[in-house]
């Protein structure tokens, strides 16, 4: 992957000052950049580096006037930071989706169908009747069970496990060790104290633009025709538990190690902190914010609340109570003192009477 400074400038709509034919193969910070790399200067604090950097090119603000000689070729743009971020995004896309072709040995059922620009890593497994769209990258050791449907431009990183019948939309990124479609935790207690397995026959539906972190688990729904649903734009961090029949609303974000129990419906645009636990069969309103380690035991009906504690309630109220909690030993002392005084005054009164 290599571009000329001119090509990059054209992409950014910027103007070149210097040799536009030089080759760029990497991005870097201005203070670390080496030959063949491109950096940016946005914060004036870093201006000193532009006079010493070995970067082949530097993106600068279009009104930048050097105070000394600059060796690097300059690309002049409106906003160097935004331009550099655009480059990073493009680079990331290139890197993420650069794999292609088929590494052997890999396993694909004859009944599976795949789209264009497909990458299938060594030891990847694609089961019967699987349907996969265009531009999908299946890394080594990924497992795609029978009848799974995957849309376009998805990445399944190494070791992802997708159980049979799962449906995944477009532009989803699923990280290593993530398990989708495992059996929900359903067991019926028997008279002798043992448990009987309740068959888990539903599926999982992952909509478009969903990101799922490493080693996160999403269980399938219990009943036929039902699905655990992760709606469009949801972002799940690592090591999260999503139980059977859960529904996670559009654009909701959940931090690492949180857990959502069975049949709970989480609204849209919620922000859920790390290690939060949500009980089963609840409804969480849109735009709910849950502080890290909160424990949710009741449905949250009003939108836009911020909660904290276990069981959780209003964030601000929790912190006020917690501030007093820290003083409880002092309270105990003061309460005893008051009791003594009041008792003494009662006795005094009595003796006075």
């Amino acid at each position: 992957m290599e571009f000329t400074v001119n090509q990059i400038a054209a992409m950014l709509g910027g103007e070149v000052s210097g040799n536009g034919n030089e080759k760029i193969n990497m991005l870097a910070k201005i203070q670390d950049a080496k030959q063949g790399q491109i950096a940016f200067l946005s914060n004036p604090k870093y201006e000193q580096y532009i006079y010493t950097t070995q970067a082949t090119a530097v993106i600068v603000k279009k009104d930048f006037v050097p105070k000394k000689e600059v060796v690097s070729t300059l690309i002049l743009v409106e906003d160097p930071y935004i331009s550099f971020t655009r480059l990073l995004e493009e680079y990331h896309k290139l890197i993420s989706f650069q794999k292609s072709g088929v590494e052997q040995p890999s396993f694909m059922s004859e009944s599976a169908t795949i789209g264009k620009d497909f990458y299938r890593g060594a030891f990847s497994y694609i089961g019967n009747n699987v349907k996969i769209g265009d531009g999908v990258k299946i890394y080594p050791h990924a497992y795609v069970g029978d009848n799974v449907v995957i849309g376009n431009h998805c990445i399944l990183h190494s070791g992802v496990k997708i159980y049979a019948d799962t449906k995944i939309g477009n532009h989803c990124v699923i990280h290593s060790g993530c398990v989708i479609g495992s059996d929900g935790f359903g067991f019926a207690p028997q008279e002798d104290g043992s448990y009987k397995t309740i068959p888990q026959l539903g599926t999982v539906i992952i909509e478009d633009h969903v990101a799922i972190g490493a080693n996160t688990v999403i269980d399938c729904a219990t009943l036929f025709g039902d699905a655990t649903i992760v709606h469009q734009g949801v972002k799940l961090d690592n090591l999260i538990q999503v139980a059977h029949n859960v529904e996670i609303g559009k654009n909701t974000v959940i931090a690492a190690q949180a857990g959502v129990s069975g049949s709970t419906k989480i609204g849209e645009n919620c922000i859920i902190g790390g290690q939060v636990g949500i009980a089963g069969h609840l409804v969480i309103a849109n735009h709910t914010g849950l502080g890290a380690q909160a424990g949710i035991s009741k449905s949250i009906k009003e939108e836009g609340q911020k909660l904290m504690g276990s069981p959780a309630y209003d964030y601000g109220e929790y912190y006020k109570s917690y501030a007093v909690f820290k003083k409880l030993p002092d309270f105990q002392h003061r309460l005893r003192e008051l009791e003594d005084k009041v008792k003494k005054s009662e006795n005094t009164s009595l003796s006075v009477d």
Copy 2:
């Protein structure tokens, strides 16, 4: 997989009303069912659907009298819900255990022995001296280390990792990404502040009818001849941590993301909530119930208790205290007010004297 209505009726001990030769290949809810599917009607609320459903067959109570014409073939039974559940179970068993044969490439040591009706998925690995019983299904990417013993009718889902020397009983289901037999977390502090690894040389024993969720980890015991033991009928959810030398009693159920520290012995028929943490070297009595996110720092000796909080104590007491916790800022205010009043009255008394 296809059965006639007559075959299904015979299995359920029911009577057929209509064409018993029709073919059934799927189960469904009465409101969603299509041709070739079988549904049930138990709750009278749903009776309307029996007159419009496209289900090929419907299981109904034997005294059911239709108010309008019913197109579907009927199977008349004592209890339609129980009958349908039985069908679900049979179906689930068929689905779960339907895989058979060997997919290539897979790896099996010549010294390994396997039973009948074995499934070995592509890229599965079976090490030296492994012994596997009848009807075992080893999905793709599962790893079975040297000397492992597995009983009959077990399922190891895709990507399960079983370290060397582990013993697994009969009728166990182990979900994707589960790790069994990894090193216990044992390190001896040295004078220079570093740690020396304490070799973990024990094993793990999983008894019969144990279910283990996705990405759960069970460490091996520390000493030779010792084992971390998961007793018969235990059900473990996803992402659970079971440390070295732990013992989990018969029919105990543990919800997702709970963790049990080293050498703790959990009794029988306990119900342990999600994200519970249990410290090491404790004994937890039979029939203990632990609320979600509870933290257990002491042994629980009396059977049948329900605990909550961190550190946990009686469930009801915890909630009473927590109710007051929420009012602590108000308490603070009232305490100050009392102090003021008492001080004032003291001053008054003094001035009176």
Copy 3:
């Protein structure tokens, strides 16, 4: 693997009493030991077993005088417990590093380079430009992405996933299902409520003598040239979350299911309990101790503190407050009683006036 008693005695610097040519192939406890095994006697409580054990050899203190006949060959040493521990360590090392050679099929890019005494399990994957040192053991289903560098004497257990560009030092042990280098959780909120992915372009650096438990996840840093760093001697238990740009200081130990949020720097020689959650962008001083389930929301500047609670503060203070928390319903009662009394006394005073 088989040694004579003489060979073992030589290794331990001990003296043999009995037949030194007998063969030993296993270690065991004195009460369980069988022929071909070696045990030890340290605690006098266990002396009875030395007269009945079937162990081929027993390690005893050099001044041990049997009261009855002993059949086993004896190895006389200064400290039998320490000697046995040394044997365990040697045995563990032998076992852990005994695998060698290449099992097929496995995948290694032609551009990868490897050292001596290498083990590459079936279905392991080694990407482009990977550099691996001497004595490294890559178990089945391990994935080593492009450009990864691994030092000497490391073990990657079955199913470990190392993303591209990660650097791992010497003498590291990484357990099954561990994921290193997955994308950090970075998403920029957009005006329409959706999120845009912030490319995660940094790497992970794991220094020497680091142990990482099963299914633990370590995310890569966000920016080019930055790294999430796990310093020398760190020990991480299972199912831990380490977010992007985190730094974990030398010899710090973290128990299972703890989570460290983005950009937090943890000092050296800290001991962090299970299920602890640490917020992002904090600095944790050296020698900090965090109790299980603690929630850390502020930086900890003073070294050597022990904290507890969520949000966490001084361990002892927390427990004092928690002791009062349990009595809060009683407090409520006492507070009301006081209020009544004071009110009554006010009224009395008033009526007196």
